[in-house]
């Protein structure tokens, strides 16, 4: 029984530690029992489900969990806080990354050299662990450490393919991400200088007290935070690293980067805005309006750029820029409907985009085709993959009964609540633009002229392994189920929003 007690008392930290532990186990396993790596990575996720199950049960019954690391109470020790927002992120991250991993266990053997396969899992688990750490941390410096871990491991899973493109892309990412973390570190320093605390809650109180003495410090800190997180989350115009990084990486990496990594920074930014900075500050510096403008630009230009892409993964990457704009739009609206929409879109987009990237990965795995124009008639040969892609495309456009519709609906209502009709127009226009670049792919895939193709060479299609098709089916079904019954995820999100505002 002591074992259960330990889980019950320490599941918050065990969650992250177990990921780190498994991750550092990989290099050893890799030398010794190469074939175990994938299994152990899956085992880490299964273990995480246990901890998250425990956490969610406790959060729903007892309320927010404050965990003091090593028994040192804040402000001296590091504190982890699991509230509804953190729980929401934990559930999203663990579920989606689990499915991506299942897919990856087959796909990676095809995309990577066997030598680096074990090391890939190291990086992957590190990334997932760091993301979960970011979700629960309540401490500036801890946050910075996790950001660095996430950034380095994200670069790792891009450059792991070690062709020219990937190395270049990951270098670009590394540089820009270093600028981002640098900004964040600087602003942490600025806040520490005036507040003397690293814990979010204590820092917030301290900053509130001294706000009138050092307004410039706080403003600069806020500006630096904004730049740092906007780079990390790839909002227009600081998105330049994303298309290269997400399109050149191996498909599971693209899926997790687009589906989860950019979102976690958005959530941390949201946490900082509401938890740390005093409300009066936003009168001085209209940061929410700024976010709105950037998100509108992001939504618009992300879609425009996506239309002209020829490579399917590059197109998906640009679409991610547009979609992250929706999440920021929800944050910028700063009312409960809008914020619900934004958070819901984190979950929905995590499912849709990882599904789309995985189906692109499956297409590349089975046929080797990356160019959109060459995908003619592929739907009849790979019905499961293109079926998933079709659901993803419909969700992106926001056709009802898919989850994308629900988040867009919330965002749209949020714009009306905030009395900002212009952004409603942006949402509608961008839905239309999404349709312009997603539907032709689907149409081409299913309704080509089969007669004319006889002259051309037939597309050779490998059989899709079960471990690749099952995650796609689960994600596809998830997109539909949460489109018809969004209330099961809204339960958490609404409480999170209530808590934030």
């Amino acid at each position: 029984m002591t074992f259960i007690n330990v889980i019950h008392a320490h599941s918050t930290v065990l969650l992250i530690v177990s990921f780190l532990l498994f991750s550092f186990l990989m290099p050893i396993l890799e030398r010794w029992k190469n074939s175990w790596c994938a299994t152990m990575a899956v085992a880490a996720h299964v273990l995480a489900f246990v901890f998250i199950g425990n956490l969610s049960w406790r959060v729903f019954t007892e309320g927010t969990i404050h965990y003091e690391l090593g028994g040192w109470s804040p402000p001296w020790g590091i504190e982890f806080v699991v509230d509804y927002l953190a729980l929401f992120m934990l559930i999203t991250i663990s579920t989606v990354s689990f499915l991506i991993l299942i897919f990856g266990t087959v796909d990676l053997t095809h995309e990577l050299k066997p030598k680096v396969l074990g090391l890939y899992y190291t990086l992957y688990l590190l990334l997932v662990g760091a993301m979960m750490g970011l979700a629960v941390t309540n401490d500036f410096f801890n946050m910075f450490v996790f950001m660095e871990i996430a950034a380095i491991s994200a670069c790792g899973i891009i450059s792991v393919k070690s062709d020219r493109e990937c190395v270049e892309a990951s270098f670009k990412y590394l540089m820009l991400s270093a600028v981002g973390t640098g900004c964040v570190l600087l602003s942490v320093a600025l806040l520490y200088m005036i507040g003397g605390h690293l814990n979010f809650a204590f820092a917030a109180v301290a900053i509130q007290d001294v706000a009138h003495i050092y307004p410039n410090n706080i403003l600069v800190a806020l500006a630096l935070f904004s730049v740092g997180f906007i780079v990390k989350a790839a909002l227009f115009p600081l998105h330049v690293w994303l298309p290269d990084a997400h399109s050149s990486a191996p498909s599971p990496s693209s899926a997790i980067l687009s589906g989860l990594v950019i979102k976690i920074y958005t959530v941390v930014y949201l946490k900082l805005l509401y938890k740390v900075f005093p409300i009066e500050l936003f009168d001085l510096l209209p940061v929410f309006d700024m976010i709105l403008i950037l998100s509108a630009l992001s939504i618009f230009f992300g879609s425009i750029f996506a239309i002209v892409q020829e490579d399917i993964k590059r197109m998906l990457a640009f679409s991610s820029i547009a979609q992250i704009g929706y999440v920021f739009l929800g944050i910028g609206l700063a009312n409960s409907t809008g914020l619900t929409g934004g958070l819901l879109h984190i979950f929905n987009h995590a499912m849709m985009k990882s599904m789309l990237f995985l189906s692109a990965g499956a297409i590349i795995y089975c046929t080797g085709i990356r160019k959109i124009d060459d995908l003619k008639g592929i739907g009849l040969k790979m019905p499961v993959v293109m079926g998933a892609f079709t659901i993803g495309a419909m969700a992106m456009v926001g056709i009802p009964t898919t989850n994308g519709f629900i988040s867009k609906l919330y965002l749209a209502l949020g714009t009306l609540d905030a009395n900002k009709h212009f952004y409603l127009a942006i949402i509608l226009i961008s839905s239309f633009l999404n349709c312009l670049y997603y539907f032709p792919i689907v149409i081409n895939a299913f309704f080509g002229e089969s007669e004319e193709e006889d002259g051309e060479e037939e597309i050779q299609v490998k059989k899709l392994p079960l471990r690749m098709s099952v995650p796609l089916i689960i994600l596809g079904a998830g997109c539909m189920i949460f489109g018809i019954f969004p209330k099961y995820i809204l339960v958490i999100i609404e409480r999170a929003v209530e808590m934030i505002l």
Partner: protein, 495 residues
């Protein structure tokens, strides 16, 4: 007025075809025959289920059902609600759908990709009925989008370059329409706090946002109804589909737009408000242009199905004109014309399908003497065409008569002139086909045995033609009675 009763039937007629789609999809691997039979049986059962609501509806009851909550806090719930107007539309849709499915069995037997055709056809039936039985705009919007997007598969069925091009136009316009409709729905929710069809006059204060809502609805539903200038997808999309699908697209699916506009005019806004602000005038003007343009362009078309498609635009103009005049007779005419046009255009399109499948000719000029060779088909075609022109005692006459009466009641004889001109134009493009078919010089040197049309096709053709005939001025006229009841409901504001 009757009372509100909970009934499972509205949900059944929607979800049953949708669920059967899965069954049909999996059965077809085993046997194509079973698939065909199941499709027909599904459509028949659906029609019976719709008809089973008749006793309650005729008492004036309103059937409701709450399926499940989609977003509970917002009041967006999957409610179903059938009143007399919904029932009219659902009845005619399921009836024509049933005939079209029966017709499909023989018509499609030589076509490719039937495995895709039947599930889509049946799924669209469910989605289409869902529009009519939905109890709030949110549910209505969901079914509307489902139907519009899924029927894309019917439009591009032939997969020729032409079909794909038309399909692309169709899907783009559909998405635009859907987004406009979404805008309308969320604006309504924002302004009124509810989107349920239980309420009338949800928005009765003029504001910029209210006008935007009105325009958004007009674009959203008008797109579907083929209203000028949003009709551009229609003449391309309808002719390229297989004949039974064209019959449904033109005969039934256009009506979903008209039905939506009825709901917008009478539920979201109300008559007094729209007349006071004069917003309704936008629709009236567009309807007049739609009537004249549809009929005029139809004359210039020589492709049989394309001519019929343009004619559909003109005919939808009648419905729009009728509903925008707001007089009792005009609304009666509009609702009855929904019935009439479904029978007429359904009949014409499947006749055209039979002709094309037998002769391989689509050009009207090449169809000389076809009437001698395919007498039953051409007689049915003639009946429906004459009904289109509005010759008594056919059903088209009755709807036009009421529309004209409505226009006079509203003190606007100008619209009567429009109706007359357009009837004349209808004559100009339908009569040559008939005359040419029966008395024209035989240009067709193909040997066709007398009416070698398979029985199931002939059955549907004859049933629809007979409907055109008997629902004219015959004393027992179920559609007309239903239309009258629906009109009373709308005018009485008892929705």
């Amino acid at each position: 007025m009757g009372e509100t009763t909970t009934s499972f039937l509205p949900v059944f007629v929607t979800l049953f075809p949708m669920l059967m789609t899965l069954v049909i999809y999996y059965v077809q691997k085993e046997s194509a025959k079973l698939r065909n039979k199941l499709s027909v049986i599904t459509s028949i059962i659906t029609f019976i289920a719709v008809a089973a609501m008749y006793p309650q509806i005729i008492r004036g009851d309103i059937l409701v059902f709450e399926l499940f909550e989609i977003i509970p806090e917002m009041g967006f719930v999957g409610t179903f609600r059938v009143d007399i107007l919904s029932f009219c539309l659902a009845l005619i849709s399921s009836f024509v759908w049933m005939l079209a499915t029966i017709y499909s069995i023989d018509y499609m037997s030589h076509e490719h990709a039937q495995n895709r055709y039947y599930p889509t056809l049946i799924f669209t039936l469910g989605a289409c009925l869902g529009i009519f039985v939905a109890g709030d705009f949110f549910t209505l919007f969901i079914f509307f989008e489902l139907m519009s997007v899924i029927s894309y598969v019917l439009v591009v069925h032939e997969e020729t370059e032409e079909a794909l091009k038309a399909g692309y136009k169709y899907i783009i316009m559909t998405i635009i329409g859907g987004l406009a409709l979404l805008l309308g729905v969320i604006n309504t929710f924002e302004l009124a706090g509810t989107v349920s069809l239980e309420h009338t006059g949800m928005i009765t204060t003029a504001s910029g946002l209210a006008f935007a809502t009105f325009i958004a609805y007009i674009i959203g539903f008008g797109m579907k109804a083929g209203m000028f200038p949003l009709h551009v997808w229609l003449p391309d999309a309808h002719p390229v589909a297989p004949a039974p699908a064209s019959a449904l697209l033109s005969g039934i699916m256009l009506k979903t737009g008209a039905y939506g506009l009825f709901r917008v005019f009478f539920n979201v806004f109300n008559v007094e408000f729209l007349q006071e602000t004069n917003w309704i005038f936008v629709v009236t003007v567009l309807a007049v242009i739609t009537i004249l343009l549809g009929s005029a362009v139809a004359i210039t078309q020589y492709d049989l199905k394309r001519r019929l498609a343009y004619s559909s635009i003109g005919q939808m103009g009648y419905v729009l004109l009728g509903m925008s005049l707001f007089t009792e007779a005009a609304i009666l005419g509009a609702i009855f014309h929904i019935f009439s046009h479904a029978f007429m255009k359904g009949c014409l399109f499947i006749c055209a399908g039979a002709i094309i499948v037998k002769t391989g000719k689509r050009d009207i000029r090449e169809l000389g003497g076809i009437g001698i060779k395919m007498p039953v088909t051409m007689i049915a075609f003639t009946t429906a065409s004459l009904a289109m022109i509005g010759i008594p005692p056919l059903n088209g006459f009755l709807s036009k008569w009421n529309l004209a009466l409505g226009a006079l009641d509203g003190g606007a004889p100008f619209y009567v002139v429009v109706l007359l001109i357009s009837s004349l134009m209808n004559g100009l493009y339908y009569l040559p086909i008939i005359i040419n078919a029966f008395f024209g010089e035989e240009v067709l040197h193909q040997e066709i045995k007398a009416d070698d049309v398979p029985f199931k096709m002939l059955l549907s053709i004859v049933v629809l033609a007979v409907c055109c005939l008997i629902f004219g001025v015959s004393p027992i006229n179920l559609p007309f009675d239903l239309s009258r009841m629906a009109t009373d409901l709308l005018i009485g504001g008892g929705i």
